[in-house]
Amino acid sequence: MSAGPSEAASVASALVPLPVILPLFAAGLKLAIGLRLQRTQRAISIVVLSLVVIVSLVLLVVADKEGPQVMYAGGWAPPVGIVLVADRLSALMLVVSTSVTLGVLVYSNGQGMADREGATPLSVFHPSYLVLVAGVSDTFLAGDLFNLYVGFEIMLVASFVLLTLGGTIARIRAGATYAIVSLLSSVLFLVAIVMVYGATGTVTMAELPAAIEKLPDGVTTLMEIALLGVFGIKAAVFPLAAWLPDSYPTAPAPVTAVFAGLLTKVGVYSMLRSQTLLFPGTRLTDVLMIVALLSLLVGIVGAVAQTDLKRLLSFTLISHMGYMIFGIALATPEGFEGAIFYVAHHITVQTTLFLVVGLIERRGGSTDLQRLGGLATLSPLLAILFFIPAMNLAGIPPLSGFLGKLGLLRAGVADGSVLAYVLVAGGTLTSLLTLYAMAKVWNLAFWRAAPAELYEVGAVLDSEETDEETDESEAEASREQGDTGTASDTGAPASQPPVGSGRAPEEAHVAVGTATDTARQEAPAPAGHTQTATFGGQQVTTTTRLPASMIGSTVGLVLFGLAFTALAGPLFDFTGRTADELIERTPYVSAVMDR
């Protein structure tokens, strides 16, 4: 318990807390500025996040060359003081996460946070967003379990605000589920920390390995289960993932994007850290394998069943968590290597896809696949922007999704156990089903002929509160259309309007002659002729000229995702070194303990 300033604090270790401090400071500044100086506020956010990206890159280089960088907050040594550690894994996660958050911030500036509601104030969004970034950085840098908990909480509180932005009824409903689950998980996390502290007398991660080795096996397993359960809720692996598709899709596109990209990966990062540093060995690997398999399969089957694009992507998110858990469960250097690579790849791709969905919503007025169509002709750029990350997610060969999956599958084959082979098979199947889900999106939203309303640029389209029956009959019509579209693949998919094969149920409805149906029959006509068609419910203004910064940042992120492919060799080398460092454990421990 020695106090006093650290003499050996090099420049690099002084940089370690900056990814946490800078966004927090900027958030405070922006709250102080309040509603004034919008332009300055945006500039502040972008400058601060750019600085954080640069700092993270420096940390990545230094951590790779000179080992983990450590910062003792206030100069207090562990176990009393707070330690921030940036080793290879933390630095890599920081670089990827801050780059992605910077991209999303630029995107949200272009969007103006004006989707659907005017009541999404910038003066709330920006500070919360920065606090979220600070929380995520804190979890990546935390050198003790309690600081990890605090990082989680910072992140959570900010995410509550972001998720319920504007306070509409849909977001409050979604926010309630999310808040309660998060609250429960943080209580459980605290209990797990108490358990660890009660058993070992410390929560510093560098001190824990030595302390845990002295414990009886049962206690260790109990602690491992408690921590893995908490991180499993965060990472949204199968039995603990039901909250995710309910809560994410209602938020504004940039918020969903950053949540999907980062918040779940924080859970995966924590799992990686605890499974390598605290609980090495193969105690719970079988359980993790089964969880991974179930996540993979249940998630992707859920995705295939969805008709809303955002929900579909949320389910693929759950599914692809399985790959990372698989890598962790293997507990071999190759497994960790693949998992780390996959985390980096998946953060980028998933965020990009959600941003593209935001653009689709802008152009098409909806994220419902049954209302979309013809976007490939209406906006070819959008089609390309969707196509590349979608193929990347599905794992088409030259792209990084393929490389990441290949790395994991090879690690599974190298492991050679029956369960590993089952998971290899499950992973391949999931990859194929992801491709199917993406092809379905492509066929419905991009490839088939557009509904008449979509050609009317700037027309006000109804988005949500239509009649349920109308929805369903329409759903029926276009679902059948979609089915035939996917089944006959190349059979003139762009030529027929979405009434062709769906005529039978439509006629049946007309024959019944309900009021809603006649309304539906007439609905396209006014939308086609005048621009002031007003429908009940929420409204979206569609535009052909999407804001430059939205397109720009999405293009940037797509390119960033492609960079993983181009730099796959060096990146795999790096993740290999990271995995070695994680398994070796001594670099981390000695960096913190020897000072």
Partner: protein
């Protein structure tokens, strides 16, 4: 390390009550549940500090062997602040939910229900389609059988008609035969009478030619 049993019991009770409340629908109850859970956890944290002792203040002549572990107390302070923030947020959210919908119940996910309903709807449609097909088949078979019957009747009628025609023909022919027969007989009788009257074969044969 010694544990204070009272703290464990209190913590456990709070945890149980909190969990029960957390399982309710209204957000207000969930809120209370989360507060209880948070407090229960804090008390459990306190148990890790071991038995009660002196205040952990260095530099006031305190004996480091009798003071309690200060770290759990620091944990609790942090946790209390966090619970406060979360509670404040939940209260606001419950109020907003009440403002918007008149109740603060946690709602089911609409899209989930829609997807589930769609499955039910599809099943129902399949079922109705199957029933419809069955009925139509039954109707058609029924209609078919009726038609067949009618056709059979018509055929029967036709057959009957033919038979009647034949019968009538035969009857007519028979009548004609009978008439002819009767005529012949009548003529024969007449001739017989005539011959009986004249009783002269030559007269009968030659008649007026004679």
């Amino acid at each position: 390390m010694t544990l204070t049993l009272a703290l464990v019991i209190v913590g456990g009770t709070l945890f149980g009550a909190g969990t029960t409340l957390l399982l309710c629908r209204p957000l207000t109850r969930i809120l209370l549940g989360s507060v209880l859970l948070g407090n229960g956890t804090n008390i459990l944290v306190l148990t890790t500090a071991g038995a009660a002792g002196d205040a952990p203040l260095l530099g006031f002549g305190a004996d480091t062997s009798t003071i309690v572990d200060p770290l759990p107390q620091a944990f609790i302070l942090t946790a209390i602040v966090i619970t406060l923030a979360l509670t404040a947020f939940l209260v606001t959210m419950a109020y907003r939910a009440w403002q918007l919908s008149g109740s603060d119940d946690v709602q089911d996910d609409v899209e989930d229900i829609r997807v589930a309903r769609r499955a039910v709807y599809m099943e129902e449609r399949e079922r109705l389609r199957a029933t419809y097909n069955d009925w139509r088949e039954a109707y058609q078979s029924m209609v078919g059988s009726e038609e067949e019957q009618r056709a059979a009747e018509r055929r029967a009628y036709q057959r009957l008609g033919k038979a009647r025609d034949r019968y009538r023909e035969l009857k007519d022919r028979a009548r004609a035969d009978a008439r002819a027969h009767r005529a012949r007989q009548a003529r024969a009788e007449q001739t017989a009478e005539e011959t009986a009257e004249e009783d002269d074969p030559w007269e009968t044969i030659l008649g007026a030619d004679r």
